[in-house]
């Protein structure tokens, strides 16, 4: 493992924290995992991310980087070890960035809305939103993976990280609502992908167990 001055401010259970952890693993970079106790924001956190006061925050050589997908891109650009996380062709890069943005700006709000809906109607709409997103990503997987295991091809890439970090949350939504979002027959590509993703060396041990996450979310 390469030595470097990298710290990662995190809390348990956050899908966003999983993203830079996968990226750092892919690049074989050692880092100090600074867990923020639940419900507290340390001075370091507030100093490093005064705008949002949120985790994850990566601190590299004393300089803070915020926002999980921005951190992932930073890791890809700052460290030359390991595979590339984003593709090299500008058009392919625009495709992965598009889906990263879709996952965070559109799909994630549906995912969250299924957990704390104000009405049954709202819950139904939210679940539909999550489902639609998964269908779109299923289709995108076929085009982007070009027959390989991951969106990133042979290795875990940007979309894999962006989407995969939410897998535990997806399973929580499935459990709480008695629905199947990733299904062997309806979404065969993503179903197979999720197994490969979760067992990839850079990822395994990072995706929390569904029940544990459920417990954390209840707090």
């Amino acid at each position: 493992m390469a030595a470097s001055d990298v710290k990662l401010l995190s809390t348990r259970g956050s899908p966003f924290v999983i993203r830079p952890r996968i990226a750092l693993n892919l690049k074989n970079i050692d880092y100090e995992f600074l867990e923020q106790p639940f419900g507290t924001k340390s001075e370091l956190l507030l100093k490093s991310n005064p705008v949002y006061k949120k985790i994850p925050i990566m601190i590299h050589n004393d300089k803070p980087i915020c926002e999980s997908l921005i951190i992932v891109q930073y890791i890809d650009e700052a460290f030359t070890s390991g595979p590339s996380i984003l593709p090299s062709d500008p058009y392919d890069r625009s495709v992965v960035r598009f889906w990263g943005s879709y996952i965070d700006d559109k799909w994630f709000s549906s995912l969250l809305a299924t957990l704390k809906p104000k009405t049954e109607e709202e819950k139904k709409t939210a679940i539909e939103g999550v489902s639609t997103g998964i269908e779109l990503l299923e289709e995108a997987f076929e085009k982007i993976s070009k027959g390989k295991d991951f969106f990133g091809g042979d290795t875990v890439g940007y979309i894999d990280i962006a989407l995969g970090a939410n897998l535990a949350l997806v399973k929580v939504v499935e459990k709480l609502n008695g629905v199947e979002l990733l299904d062997e027959t309806k979404t065969p590509n993503l179903y197979a992908w999720s197994e490969k993703f979760c067992s990839d060396p850079a990822v395994k041990d990072l995706i929390p167990e569904t029940d544990k996450l459920l417990e954390l979310l209840k707090r």
Partner: protein, 252 residues
């Protein structure tokens, strides 16, 4: 270096076909075909126009009839997920989402780089660009689309958000002494805050509370390439006054 002239035309009804290739002028053009599908009544296509103009890239501009919510088949074909503008079509391949488009433009045409070279500086630029997109955009349009107490709250929030945004300035511009990624992505604010203020009668940004941001508004709008693409203010005011009335009526 002077920017190339851009070819503009209004798309009235182009159906499912690509742009005609039987035109002599088109055959003589460079082999790169760049089309921007946008909407002059709104701010976000400007982001892409400024990026393209800075790099001297020739493009064909197609305006969508969005005041009448009339989306062209071409838009729906090239951005089926969001069905929104702007969309850049480069040699038949579409790119959607303004931040994604600007990074694509920056990586495809290397002259006048928008993002800095250093990975840390790039991360900072991406942070503020995202802040402008996630927070400033919502803030400005919340003030535009609301009335009464909701508008008061939206205004208070917008002022806080823009005050925070001001912290991203690295000198004259967000890009330092010359315009860069964040300026291009957020520059619409410099023009549109004034439009929103005039339509709503509300003051959002003033020189006392946000001196640096106010100065940036001026500096940005003074840039030749920026000025050239700005749609006429009176037209914007006229159309958006009506649009706001519709929005407010729909929500009450």
């Amino acid at each position: 270096m002077r920017p190339h002239q851009s070819f503009e035309r209004l798309a009235i009804n182009i159906g499912d076909e690509r742009l005609p290739k039987n035109n002599k002028r088109d055959r003589l053009m460079a082999t790169d075909e760049v089309i921007l599908i946008g909407f002059r009544g709104g701010p976000f296509s400007l982001i892409v126009e400024w990026a393209l103009k800075l790099k001297g890239v020739e493009y064909e501009y197609l305006d969508e009839d969005l005041f009448n919510n009339n989306k062209s088949p071409m838009l729906l074909q090239y951005n089926p997920v969001h069905k929104k503008v702007p969309v850049l079509v480069h040699n038949g391949k579409p790119v959607a989402e303004s931040l994604v488009i600007v990074e694509y433009i920056d990586e495809t045409w290397k002259q006048y780089p928008l993002l800095p070279d250093d990975p840390y500086d790039r991360a900072v630029a991406r942070f503020w660009a995202k802040y402008a997109e996630d927070k400033c955009k919502t803030a400005a349009f919340s003030v535009f689309a609301t009335v009464g107490e909701a508008q008061e709250n939206a205004t208070k929030e917008a002022r806080e958000i823009l005050k925070t945004f001001e912290k991203g300035l690295r000198g004259k511009f967000f890009g330092g002494e010359t315009i860069g990624f964040v300026d291009v992505v957020a520059g619409w604010i410099a023009y549109w805050i004034g439009v929103i203020e005039e339509i709503t009668g509300i003051n959002i940004v003033d020189k006392e509370t946000m001196p640096l941001l106010s100065e940036w508004f001026q500096n940005f709008l003074d840039v030749e390439i920026v000025k050239e693409r700005l749609p006429p203010r009176d037209k914007l005011l006229e159309k958006n006054k009506i649009f706001r009335e519709q929005l407010v009526a729909a929500s009450t």
